[in-house]
């Protein structure tokens, strides 16, 4: 009987609820252990003049002070190694590490940090995408995907919408901040315990920076208190800093970021600014799409290239586009390097498409559901993505049709319209969005994994893979896969801490693919062991059962029993067989390897089939907005997904709901605000507001369709990231609500849709007539704040004008629709009997 599909608890659940699970900061202190921290750049952009360590060095208890001069090499980065661990001459973001400090006590550490004098010349920082574009500051090259004949399609356009969408970043807000403990060993060996999604990256980078061989460094990850991408490349910095201290002082060194520092000095989800132009017919069917992405990469490359790549390959989302030109650049700004965050650029691409769908619907005056349904990828035709991959096993039409019924979409849409015509104080909106998320690393090389499975004499099993557990349940999934493959109880399987000692050259736990890759590798290892065991079992059964010969292929493993399928009563327990195998000197430990087949992508051509399959889903969200305060409440959420067969439905549901709510946070309350000097202002949960338990509506319906996903292990599909993008339905529901007050305008909205952003839009639309009558101009809202310098004092800290991610001029996310192909703004469309016009032309997509 298969264990697949059983809802067993997370393998760490008991430890978690009793407080017994051990995280890095919970590991008992070791003899001679040192506390490690760093002192960083005071400026977002600065030229290093001098570092004075003389005072700090004299402080009792201070053991080590290290600068770039103490490193064998000083460059790191997961794709392009362009980032120094410690500033050499030019600091590129506030808090960029300059000096690593190690001390015997926390108070000595704090004193030393204060005593370090860093002299720097302040240079002009670049803090926004617009500034970077003006100054032509980009990282790496342009990336593009093209298909069809875009120029011709736009010439023949029936209708056109042009716009710019501004999408904000977000902090990961994993509960456990970056943490690591480095322990020196003999012969310059080091073991680094780290809360990381990428142990091999820490191993490789520490060896490189310290001038060691990779085989001298081991990185171990028991678990993370949350990762979400934030510990894919950026756990490396603390890991290497602690390793540096351990290596230089020969003492254990622990580095635990406090939450404030973690938020201030690590990268975020990439803010994007996307210029788009779309042509469509009277039915809302898209005939051409042009999107020019500008990602805010921060100071260094980090993972930005891959993030931009995923934005480009996901902007089509669930919808067929015959003629497309999709290209993007990474803007270089003086902020911490932006990094992986669940969805990895996909959300920033998909929101652009869903924004467009909502605007087409508003322009034509037809329900956005119909626009989407008409544009959705087909089964037999209209099923090729702009980069040339065919969308196989396409359940999108089915998902749309099913959720439309189960959510009573049309009925609720009319109720929303009715409500809005009657309420002076509130506005409602309802919207449906979809997701088609490509599974596999777009960098084909990374789609490999290895696993080590050891069987012990009592029949219990240890599994080690490169997957890291951050709460998502990958260990539980792998445990169940191994138990299923060996036909034993999952209680007899333990998934061990991830260690580069047991699994080499591991890919980061990322791209939703950890179970796919590592689970497949573990299954392959189990198959090798089973093959060894089958020989032993077959021989044994043949020798003890009269009348049959040895037939290894007929040996079955089920429910802790091993038997010959020809004679099911000729059986033994798994444990008995293991004992027999040991005495027969058969191997009870094997390594499995897995590499995803049939995927490839060429970024030079912008063509290929980078994904093994797509995870799909739809969501319907309904919101109510207080027109007078901008406060928004999500009333109901419906989610329907195709996640293939579930290994563990409870764990999958946790991923779906958790990802959705995390996405909702990004698109509603989470807004990063910086000073005009590039200091993050909201660096703690007091001012950075992730969703609270009260933000989750009671009406929350989650369902999955039945589907067996042939190409992947046990017919499953990856589920870690895709549902995050379904939260875009909350944002488009706000857009839908705004369409009731936008009058002749398209309902524009930046992300996140904070209450301030929403109230700004409503106030702007409300005053349209008034403004044009008295000639005050259309963009007075928020002008005052943006132009005037306002200072306030909080706890003695002067907080100057907010620069970035706030006080957005209303013109920042704009769109204009017009009939025909040319930008003739006098051409009129109609919506609900009203005329469609534009008061303001958006920026042309940059050439």
């Amino acid at each position: 009987m298969s264990i697949m599909g059983k809802d067993i608890p997370h393998d760490s659940a008991v430890g978690h609820v009793s407080g017994e699970s051990i995280y890095i900061d919970d590991m008992p202190p070791l003899r001679n252990e040192l506390f490690v921290d760093f002192v960083g750049s005071p400026y977002a952009h600065g030229k290093l003049i001098s570092i004075d360590l003389s005072v700090a060095r004299e402080i009792p208890g201070v053991v080590g002070l290290f600068t770039h001069k103490d490193l064998a090499h000083n460059r790191l980065g997961p794709i392009i190694q362009d980032e120094p661990l410690l500033v050499e001459d030019e600091a590129m973001f506030v808090g960029e590490p300059v000096v690593v400090v190690a001390a015997e006590t926390k108070s000595a550490l704090a004193k030393a940090k204060k005593a370090i004098k860093i002299e720097m010349e302040e240079l002009t920082p670049t803090l926004t995408v617009n500034e970077a574009r003006e100054r032509q500051l980009f990282l790496d090259r342009e990336y593009a995907v093209k298909c069809g004949d875009v120029e011709a399609a736009f010439k023949e356009a029936k209708h056109t919408i042009e716009g710019t969408l501004v999408v904000g970043g977000a902090d990961h807000f994993y509960l456990e901040s970056q943490a690591c403990l480095a322990i020196p060993g003999e012969n310059d060996q080091i073991v680094v315990h780290s809360s990381t999604q990428a142990p091999s990256e820490i191993q490789h980078t520490a060896a490189h920076i310290l001038g060691l061989q990779q085989n001298q460094v081991v990185c171990v990850t028991k678990r993370m208190g949350g990762g979400f991408g934030g510990k894919e490349s950026q756990a490396t910095h603390p890991g290497v800093m602690a390793a540096l201290v351990a290596h230089k002082t020969k003492r254990p060194a622990r580095m635990i970021y406090i939450k404030d520092d973690d938020m201030r000095y690590t990268g975020k989800r990439h803010p994007f600014q996307n210029d788009y132009k779309v042509a469509f017919d009277d039915n809302g069917i898209i005939t051409a799409l042009q999107v020019h992405f500008f990602a805010d990469g921060g100071a260094y490359n980090d993972l930005s290239i891959a993030v931009l790549g995923r934005a480009i390959t996901h902007v089509d989302n669930a919808y067929f586009v015959a003629n497309a030109e999709l290209k993007g650049r990474i803007c270089r700004t003086n902020l911490p390097p932006n990094t992986a965050f669940r969805g990895f650029g996909g959300p920033q691409g998909v929101i652009t498409m869903e924004c467009i769908q909502e605007e087409i619907a508003a322009y034509l005056g037809i329900p956005s559901l119909d626009v989407r349904r008409r544009n959705v990828y087909g089964i037999e035709e209209r099923n090729t993505t702009p980069y040339g991959q065919i969308v196989r096993n396409n359940n999108l039409p089915k998902l749309f049709d099913q959720i439309m019924k189960t959510s009573q979409f049309r009925d609720r849409l009319s109720k929303v319209e009715e409500f809005n015509s009657g309420s002076e104080t509130h506005l409602k909106g309802i919207s449906i969005t979809a997701i088609k998320f490509g599974i596999s690393f777009t960098n084909t090389m990374l789609n490999q994994a290895n696993a080590l499975v050891n069987v012990y004499l009592d029949g219990t099993v240890q599994v080690s893979t490169g997957a890291t557990e951050m709460g998502q349940g990958v260990n539980t999934n792998i445990k169940m896969l191994v138990a299923d493959e060996l036909g034993i109880d999952p209680g007899d399987v333990i998934v061990m801490a991830t260690s580069t000692e047991k699994n080499n050259n591991t890919s980061a736990t990322a791209a939703s693919a950890a179970t796919d890759l590592n689970g497949s590798a573990a299954v392959n290892a189990c198959r090798k062991i089973k093959s060894n065991l089958r020989e032993v079992a077959a021989r044994h059964i043949a020798s003890t059962t009269p009348g049959i010969g040895a037939y290894p292929d007929g040996i079955k493993f089920d429910n802790g029993i091993v038997y010959d399928e020809r004679r099911p009563d000729a059986k033994m327990t798994f444990k008995e067989l293991v004992g027999l195998a040991y005495r027969s000197r058969a191997s009870l430990g094997e390594r499995g390897f897995y590499a995803t087949k049939g995927i490839e992508f060429d970024w030079l051509a912008g063509k290929g089939s980078p994904f093994l399959y797509f995870t799909m889903g739809c969501a319907v969200s309904e919101v109510t907005i207080d027109k007078l305060t901008g406060d928004m409440k999500v009333d109901r959420i419906d989610i329907l997904m195709d996640v293939g067969k579930s290994i563990n439905p409870g764990i999958n549901r946790g991923q779906i709901v958790g990802a959705f709510i995390q996405g909702m946070g990004w698109l509603t309350n989470e807004e990063l605000k910086y000073t005009d000097k590039g200091h993050l202002l909201n660096y703690s949960p007091t001012t950075y507001k992730i969703p609270n338990i009260q933000d989750v509506p009671d009406a929350f319906h989650v369902d999955v369709i039945d589907n067996y996903n042939t190409p992947n292990v046990r017919g499953t599909k990856a589920v870690g990231e895709p549902p995050l993008l379904l939260a875009i339905s909350v944002w488009t529901a706000v857009k839908h609500a705004l369409s009731f007050v936008a009058g002749d305008e398209l309902p524009c909205l930046s992300a996140p849709a904070t209450n301030e952003e929403i109230l700004g839009r409503i106030t702007f639309y409300d005053n349209q007539d008034l403004l044009s009558k008295d000639g005050r101009g259309a963009t007075s809202w928020r002008g005052e704040g943006a132009n005037g310098a306002h200072y306030r004092s909080i706890g003695g800290l002067d907080i100057p004008t907010i620069k970035h991610g706030s006080l957005r001029p209303i013109s920042e996310s704009v769109a204009v629709g017009y009939d025909g192909a040319s930008g003739n703004v006098n051409a009129l469309g109609s919506r609900n009997g009203k005329k469609q016009r534009s008061s303001e032309r958006p920026r042309q997509p940059a050439q």
């Binding site: 456990e176 007078l628 709901v657 309350n669 969703p691 338990i693």
Partner: protein, 482 residues
């Protein structure tokens, strides 16, 4: 005079002396005792990962409340029993809350989980089942980034209460209570290096200490002062914890000559106690307390503290301003009353003498013939600090406004009344047009700044719109959902 802090942790007695008494509880638990189940994430009471149960003597027994351990310093915790996540198992087995969390997938990464479990155990300690709404209210102070909370609510709904064992059964308190009663009347004085803390047992003693040490930082619930110590480099030379002050923990209700209910709220009354007391008396104040911080904050913080903090965006002062509340302060030479509207003399400045303490807040409650509405606008509805607050109080006579009191927060350095708007309103009919004009006047009467919680324009628009909202909420209630 004692020179140690007496507390119990999971049933074991601790006498804390010297330097250690100046530690946050979570540091003491994690790094001194090795009780690492209690996590620290934000160190400012905004995430709940550090939630512990804290029992103080109430009516002869220990009453347990969930609190944020990260912003409770040991010198605040004399005569308390702390129960941590490590102390919640039943005979080595998971308790029913823990079981439910395991089976409902209430934990993913696990870092927030001990905090949730403790908060949930505190919620269920009465042995009563809870609705989804009650569960959410009880867990407002706990952030989770993994689960989206659905599974946690589900766990709360499926706790098997037949197997529940309350904390007082788990930790029989007769011995502890006896010990506390013997010691709580004794004042405490602690010194370490250049720091000094006093835990007086009488108001007179407290006034003397404050007078002798003018830089004394007074700490009550610590929901603000401890954050300043954890995060903003506040290192006070003299601290006075008022946790053991006798006679300040009562709410007394009376009726004045006009038939108005007056509440006299002792300075040590927590916001949670006030919330419970007020729940049948005033819907608006109840609402404001519901969106005030979190259970953990409301069980620690006091009304007096919310006033003394003097923040322009504190949640209760607009109500107190509009209701003409008074503050009773006590000094060496006795007691006097200060009008709430005159209590702030500038940004974070109080009309207190060097020896004085707030001992009581006198809160007149709205009468039936008054329209009173309170507003709080914040980025997130719960567990957030306001961007804008307002209290509007009107008395109508046949549709005409007879008197008006309007107080705004978040629009100036201090909470303020809006006299021009009030003057304008008196004598007018309560119509939408009146409210529109009042809003426009209000916009002109305030001078907000742009900060991390909202821009100037946003606040100006709110200052204007809130009157229109008031109109609809009081006149066309059917169209409004809160």
């Amino acid at each position: 005079m004692r020179d140690y802090i007496l507390l119990y942790i999971n049933g074991r007695q601790h006498k804390v002396v010297g330097e250690k008494a100046f530690m946050p509880l979570t540091d003491y638990l994690r790094y001194e005792l090795g009780l690492c189940g209690t996590k620290v994430v934000c160190a400012e009471g905004d995430c709940g990962a550090c939630t512990v149960m804290l029992g103080r003597v109430e009516d002869g027994a220990l009453a347990y409340k969930p609190l944020n351990g990260c912003i409770q310093y040991l010198f605040q915790l004399d005569c308390t029993h702390i129960v941590t996540i490590e102390g919640l198992k039943l005979n080595g087995q998971l308790n029913p809350v823990q079981e439910a969390m395991v089976h409902c997938h209430g934990a993913q990464c696990g870092y927030c989980t001990p905090g949730f479990v403790v908060a949930m155990c505190a919620m269920f300690d009465d042995g009563e089942s809870k609705s989804a709404c009650q569960i959410k209210d009880g867990l407002t102070g706990n952030l989770c980034r993994c689960t989206g909370y659905e599974a946690i609510v589900k766990a709360g709904l499926s706790v098997d209460l037949s197997a529940w064992q309350s904390i007082d059964k788990l930790y029989p308190d007769a011995e502890i209570v006896k010990n506390f009663k013997q010691q709580i009347g004794e004042s405490i004085h602690l010194k370490a290096d250049d720091k000094e803390v006093s835990v007086p047992s009488s108001v007179a003693e407290a006034c003397r200490f404050r007078s002798d040490n003018p830089q004394t930082v007074i700490i009550s619930g610590g929901t603000d002062v401890s954050v300043n110590m954890n995060k903003r480099g506040l290192v006070p030379d003299f601290v006075m914890s008022v946790s053991n002050l006798a006679g300040l923990s009562d709410i007394v209700s009376s009726t004045d000559s006009e038939g108005r209910t007056l509440l006299e709220v002792g300075a040590r009354v927590t916001l949670a106690e006030l919330e419970a007391y007020i729940s049948e008396l005033d819907e608006e104040l109840k609402y404001i307390l519901w969106v005030f911080g979190s259970p953990q904050i409301r069980h620690a913080g006091t009304l007096a503290g919310n006033i003394a903090n003097a923040s322009p965006i504190a949640d209760t002062p607009p109500f107190l301003f509009a209701m003409d509340a008074e503050i009773e302060v006590t000094g060496i030479n006795g007691t006097r009353r200060i009008k709430m509207t005159q209590f702030y003399t500038g940004y974070k400045k109080l009309a207190l003498q060097a020896d004085e303490l707030i001992t009581k807040v006198i809160v007149p409650l709205p009468k039936k013939d008054e329209l009173v509405k309170l507003y709080k606008v914040s980025r997130r509805q719960h567990l957030d600090i306001s961007a804008f607050t307002a209290a509007i109080r009107l008395k109508l006579d046949k549709g005409k406004i007879e008197s008006a009191a309007v107080a705004y927060g978040g629009v100036a350095a201090v909470v303020m009344r809006l006299p021009k708007v009030e003057q304008f309103l008196v004598g007018k009919d309560l119509t939408l047009d009146t409210c529109r004009q009042a809003g426009q006047l209000a916009r002109q009467e305030v001078a907000p700044i742009s900060d991390v919680r909202g821009s100037r324009d946003y606040r100006l628009t709110l200052a204007e719109n809130i009157f229109i909202k008031f109109y609809h909420e009081t006149k066309e209630k059917e169209l409004v959902c809160r």
